[in-house]
Subunit: 367 residues, 2 copies
């Protein structure tokens, strides 16, 4: 081999100054020093994994033995849930194919900011019913009671994405008959992104561990992952141990705080924030007060303004990150996340002040 | 919902004391304070991602524009390479199916500790030729020169796993015609596990971005990942930013050290270690000195001993982690990793002393 032609990059030969910022978008949220410090510890595997597992069982309110953290973001957990629970043959090829072709699996559409009724859900014919609990794009917390029973009546698994909601609003997966649920580390839990708690009911395990075919992914194959988290000697992959330390610490904070206190706190803070917004003349995007997600608030984009100018002004002037909509709410809302340690009165007041100031200083056209 | 029935776990309500240990197994290796501290920084995305990209281009010696870090361990990068480069139809269903059924894709088997010749490789008929550069189970560094040309002659992509070797032994992917290569963060790079650098040649991109079907995984779909790392506004998933800080710092250390110095250093240290082992009467598993992986040394399991007793004694007495074999070398070897910051004369002397002591104190049967 001749000598190197790609030289050491200049940007790596000098220190990288990391700016501070208050992160009040729909996540990731700020990481408290205690959690960050835990992630900087030396790395040893199994004992920490058992603690993480107990912490997830508490946060999810489950006795499911197959409870673990996927070594990736929430979207890896989504892939994991789908790869393992669906098989070619049983309706799957169509559903799966549609899924990856961009259409959704047996979609039932409701208006952005609304939610489904259980009567509507009963019309759906599917093997796995996949629901987002906390819909951060629209700010809706979807009701979950009764859906598990409905699904089981039709021999269907109930799969829930609670990335943006877990810890901030009630969900108890055993009691509610949820078969698979996952969340992310970077929202209410305030850990760095990169690990995703997931849990499978006995009913889900029955299906997953009696597959005719192996799931397409080696990395996300539950027959390996479940063994790995059972801490036997089978090597599967090198777990992100530093991230597990951070996750352990975030679950410890939740255990110390108490799950119910965390729910109450997020709800009270969200209501306090919503009141402040309405007093300022802003409108909430989700009309039904019971359907408002406490962790992520969507505000109707103020008429006459360019929402990008507002978020840009707040970032530049206040060093606070808030965001616009995404997907169904793109261009329609401003999104403010108040999750875990970021859910504080002081932060509510900061962001209200920043919004009021932005409305004064940003350009407003006649509506 | 009634009150919580899963109570806060006791293990989370007390601090978790993390033991210190010298990790000289086949990886993960110890994380220097500088890298650990970088991972504990506040989290902001895009600027760090560009730096990580440059660092990987340097470490891989490539100008490939599609160069990034997968948000998961090396096995996620393996899935990423395969999911994106193979398609149903073109031979794939058979290969892929075989792969997930436990057989290997068009396997050519050589003896454990040996390697393939280019003449042998030319007999293989496949769409993607997948080679492990540094085989940590056997301690072999596989020759890579000439294989790229062979592959391209038959319109085949050359895919290399360099998890255990990158940074410790020469590889220059553009020069050697490698189409896809990935590594892990936790070996020579000394960053915590959880991110996996990967790069795709123009030839690989031609195939990947002109697929007829979408890859099965959303999380690992390169058409999204490449956009995400191009830092446009498309949200794909929440990247493990803390891990990217750690990875950036580890790549910075490599850039400061110089890749060629790192290669030379690992080679010299491995030779120093091998000499010490032979002087002690131990035998190296890989006979061909040129095929010895400098980062992971495999020692023939000393006859008459139980290798588990040796690794256990060294862990208990010296707090040093070394390991036995895995897969083809299970029961046959002791494995010692000397990677990145762990590749030091002091560590070589520590592990030689520990081995000599273990051979004195562990039970030896008559051979």
């Amino acid at each position: 081999m001749s000598s190197l032609f790609v030289l050491p990059p200049e940007c790596l030969l000098q220190p990288f100054p990391v700016p501070q910022r208050l992160m009040l978008g729909p996540g990731p949220s700020n990481v408290p020093t205690r959690i960050a410090a835990a992630g900087a510890q030396p790395m040893l595997g199994p004992p920490i994994m058992n603690q993480v597992k107990s912490g997830i069982q508490y946060a999810f309110q489950t006795r499911n033995r197959v409870t673990l953290a996927v070594s990736g973001p929430g979207h890896a957990a989504m892939d994991c849930a789908i790869f393992n629970s669906l098989e070619p043959g049983e309706n799957e090829s169509c559903q799966w194919h549609m899924w990856r072709e961009g259409a959704k699996m047996n979609t039932v559409v409701t208006s952005a900011g609304g939610y489904f009724t259980n009567e509507g859900i009963e019309q759906i014919n599917t093997v796995v019913f996949f629901l987002t609990h906390g819909e951060s794009s629209t700010g809706v917390v979807h009701p979950t009671d009764g859906i598990g029973d409905l699904c089981h009546k039709y021999n269907c698994l109930f799969l829930v994405d609670s990335v943006a909601a877990l810890g901030g609003t009630p969900i108890c997966i055993d009691e509610q008959g949820i078969d698979i649920m996952y969340t992310g580390s970077q929202k209410v839990l305030n850990a760095p992104p990169g690990t995703a708690p997931i849990s499978f009911s006995e009913r889900a395990c029955q299906k997953i561990f009696n597959r005719r075919t192996k799931p397409i992914s080696y990395f996300l194959d539950m027959s390996w992952l479940a063994n790995y988290w059972g801490c036997d000697d089978n090597f599967h992959h090198t777990g992100p141990v530093s991230s597990f330390y951070g996750l352990r610490e975030s679950l410890a904070i939740l255990a110390e705080t108490g799950l119910e206190n965390s729910w109450k706190w997020h709800k009270a803070l969200a209501e306090y924030f919503h009141k402040g917004l309405e007093e300022m003349g802003l409108k909430l995007f989700v009309q039904d007060t019971n359907a408002r997600l406490p962790t992520v608030t969507t505000i109707v984009a103020p008429p006459g303004y360019d929402w990008r100018e507002i978020t840009g002004y707040i970032m530049k002037t206040y060093n606070i990150e808030i965001s616009g909509g995404i997907g169904p709410s793109a261009g329609m809302v401003l999104c403010v996340g108040l999750m875990g340690c970021n859910s504080s009165k002081a932060n509510v007041e900061k962001v209200l002040e920043a919004l009021a100031d932005a409305l004064k200083h940003c350009h407003k056209s006649r509506v």
